[in-house]
Amino acid sequence: MNDKMNETLNAPEAKAEETAGMAAGKTADGSENLLDVRDLTVEFHTDSGIVQAINGLTFSLTTTALAIMGLINCPPGFYKSGEIIYKGKDLMKISESEYLKIRGREISMIFQDPMTALNPVMPVIDQISEVIKNHKHISAKEAREEAIEMLKVVRIPPERADEYPHQFSGGMRQRIVIAIALACNPNLLIADEPTTALDVTIQAQVLEMMRELKDNFNTSMIMITHDFGVVAETCDKVAIVYAGEVLEAGTKRDIFKNPCHPYTVGLFGAIPNLNEDTEFLYQIEGLMPDPMDLPKGCPFAPRCSCAKDICHVEKPCVSRLPGEDHVVKCHKYTGSDENAEIVNEEWRDE
């Protein structure tokens, strides 16, 4: 992995890359992994050599999510390397027509901004029934009926079915997007900051609904978010990602009770505590690294308060911590476990 990264960084043409490891949700029987993303590298080439819209975390995970959906625009994005294993198949290697059957049907996605995610000139019902019709190969009338059912599920009155997106509020639009995503009862739902663009009052409503639907539809969900409140509300397992790398992962309980990586600790420090009267919240010093020029060692090292010399030079291995599946990638914990190397392998496969 390290070699590969250096190689791409040293290549002459301008590029940025996202390397991310991501493992998600178990299948219904819980025996094997539904999705496994390994060493995924996506490059973005632009005319001027500048990569636009780089926004740290959001960028990296949104990119990964889009890569899973096979939606990276080419150009400017190119798959460089890595695998996305879904149900034992490498999604990078399947043909576009096979992919069409997976998108929307097996894996679907909820986008960040509901204001722009819906086609403004198409009645919402058509936008929902379209995906049903497309995947279930049923008549337009049946698809419409199913779409109306979906509207009821997301608690939008069916009599508003033929209205256009601009006639709905942001929260309602996001619920319509959720209805589109869940219309074909997918195995995996990727939610990319689904509540960021919404009002706080609406956020709770939408999250509540997502959690409920996830359980009812028996769907696995990957939630990409900046908000620990959302994590606490919806997730079972948590991975903390920084500059495209998973720094810490574990069950929700492990991460919340026992954050180990300095970055995770910093993130929790930034959450106001209701029981204490603090003047200033904790702030992680410095800025996100430039994705075109990632630090050689631990990506968080330049901003880390407990960084040592080794942190700047060498990438840390994965160390297993007490607790169920709790792993961290930090020099602070290297050697605390004799099986660090083995854990590394295990962690990667998960």
Partner: protein
Amino acid sequence: MGRYILKRLLMVIPILIGVTLFIFLTLSLTPGDPAKLAMGNDATEEQLQAFREQNGLDKSLPVQYLTYMGKAITGDFGKSFITRQTVTSMIGARIGNTLFLSFTSIAFTIIVSLIMGVTMAVKQNSLYDNTMRVVTIILTSMPQFWLAIMMILLFAVKLRWLPSSGLGTFKQAIIPIICCACSGITMCTRTTRASMLEVINQDYIRTARAKGLRSNDIIWRHALKNALLPMITVYGRMVASCFNGSVVIESIFGINGIGTMMMNALRQKDIPAIMGGIIISACVITVVNLLTDLAYAFVDPRIRSHYRRATGKKKTVRNTPKEGAVTA
């Protein structure tokens, strides 16, 4: 909606009054005596006087204008000073050619530019796209009349494949229609491509792709309708420019249409014929503008609901969608 259309149609009336008044005043106040031009240089003063009396040119300007307008309302546009035919019959005999030329080239333009614009946007930066971009730039920059001359030179003079004038037969119509459509095609292709590219990068296209739709469905069902919005203004403007272009094209190919009629009437200061021609053109342009606005409402539900609200109220908002679209 019905009320809106009615309101817009009523707005045509002051515009027509303004146009006729403007043209009438220009005709009357510029040098050149229509009587002399009609009767020839060797006409006697009595003959000229008789001509003036016969055609009401001896009366004061307001009286002349009001008499003309009074008759025009009943559909009587007067008789030509030169040919002595009624203007209505003169226009009737010629408008067929002009409309045929304009509408075939408009249809041609819309079809060709849609297909080219969309395919170019989909295959952005490919060899096809780049070649066509160069071609459209060159063709945009070629003035219509020069293109016409060059096509005559090539196809009629050198290759002898097509005749160099007229509009009657299919072979005769080819060069005029291509020349008339050419500037429209290049303009529309360029804007369709730009508008398509803008739309393709929108979030809702990503949503559509995430649904697992085939890319053809996405382009023709989702993207095209959105891309058409800015195109409507361009199409509206193109109809006007086609009408413009047909004046030049008619004069080059010797086609007997409104354009040639106007050119001849202007040279001889044939006031009724000029007024008739201008009124017809202004009507066409105004109706096209109205259709453009309605087409917006047809394609864009946001504007449709805006109209519903606006017609409910007494006064329309200052930034009507039409103006917003034109300045955009």
